[in-house]
Amino acid sequence: MSTLDADAGAVGTTEGLRLAPLLEQAAALRDGTTTSVELVTACQAAADRIDPLIGTYIVRFDRAALEAATAADEARARGDGGGLLHGVPFGVKDMLVTREGPTTAQSVVLDPTWGDQPEGAVVSRLRAAGAIPLGKTTTMEFALGYPDQEHHNWDAGSEDDSRHRFPLPRNPWNRSHWAGGSSSGSGNGVAAGLFPLGLGTDTGGSIRIPAAFCGVSGHKPTFGLVPKSGCVPLGFTYDHIGPLARTVADCAAVLDVIAGPDPSDPTSRARPGGPERYLEALQGGIDGLRIGVGRSVTADGPWCDPEVTACFDQALGVLEGAGGRLVEVDLPYWDELQNATFVGMSVEAFAWHRSMLQEHWRDYGRPTRMRLALGALISGADYVQAQRVRRTGQRLVGELFGSVDVIVTPTLGTVAPLLGGGRADRTRQLRSMFTAALNALGFPALVVPMGFDVTLGLPTSLQIVAAPFEDSTALRVGHVFQQMTDWHRRSPALAGT
């Protein structure tokens, strides 16, 4: 395995800081070790070298980002840059509106004027906190499907002017493997040090899967905690927006900025019991915390590779060593909840896409249009039944939290798959996603790197689930795990080039 420790290299320089967590970059900006212009310039120079190899960006906002960085440095010089994220760069999945450039959802189908609407609450809040968008990151078309040779530029670095071709998001740990999706560029960009924060969206695992495959942290907040305005919808009642970052503390700091209801999203709501301060809530340890281990349908099931199970067992040992009390739990109707997400999401996505599919069937990539068409094959009663299963699952899984504080599983049963795999590979990949049930439930789920498949040199990942609006508990467990391990501090060798 070829790795580069995040602390290695040009320590004390802005180029060295590029691979550091967001909060360390922010601290360096505050204490004057670097400037926002230097940091943004270093990220842009790294993107010049690395992006052609891994397909992180659809479009970069180089000029606007440098102007914003200059303004951030000037504000700080005036004593007006006190926010925690002031001057820190971030990448935005191209499902979210930004004022600097178009929103494509990585498709030629989406009307370019769709992105003319105002920015959503999340991007606006990050911008107001002083963070600087560097560009729009790759996804799968409309956050669906898988990499295919019709839709993606398969030969890295080659010129291809086909209007269907988008960058192919490769895994920075091994470029023959997929970065994961659908927040692909936000995941591989963080791992490669192109920015310390990537915004993602998650309808069945699309924050957690690329975070897992690329060896970074990712957080799907409780449904409703973070407004999802300004986002191309996939499944209206399954979509979430959240951060991908190097550390759990970074995710907590971002959640402090982006959480809270907003009139632009009627499904957003205030946290019952009042707002949480997520970064502060990381303190306190996990001594005596009850950690439910949901392994029978995940780590011990037929879709989990032995290497992943071994990493999971080691991770459980770490949590136990930190004082956590391990409690085996059975996850009720797990397969059915996974299916409730696929059924419900398919119908909701088809409702949004139906008119465009009628007019532009062949303009969609084949995997996307075939996946969307499944929504036409599901009846109204089937959709309602999926919603009934969701409600039952919310009650039954919610009841588990009477006896445990969090539930842990592997995020996926496999490491990142080879690009270009066939139908059997894709079926296995789909079955090994232990993420989708959480979208049906709407419960918060955090993922953190938990080791490597040493043969392939690819990361494995731990998923930490909490009760609704108890995101801080999952974050605290993840933070403790990262204080006792160094998986999150490792970067692929490519990141240092």
Binding site: P266, T267, N339, T392, G442
Partner: protein
């Protein structure tokens, strides 16, 4: 034409989308598996209370 192909073609036509024959055939191959997954949802003893609405999560649920 198989039952699955007929069913899929009818549903797609009702939705006024018109894939190629090979795409219909591919969807027809997936259809039995999709139906099995959906039938599994009906075997869950779902509660009588309202299905998950647009804002599905309640604290402490």
């Amino acid at each position: 034409m198989s039952d699955a192909t007929e069913a899929v073609r009818a549903l797609l036509e009702a939705a006024r989308i018109h894939p190629d024959d090979d795409e219909v055939a591919s969807l027809a191959r997936q259809y039995p598996g999709l139906r099995r997954e959906i039938e599994g949802l009906y075997r869950v003893p779902a509660d009588d209370d309202a299905p998950a609405p647009t804002s599905p999560v309640e604290a402490g649920s």
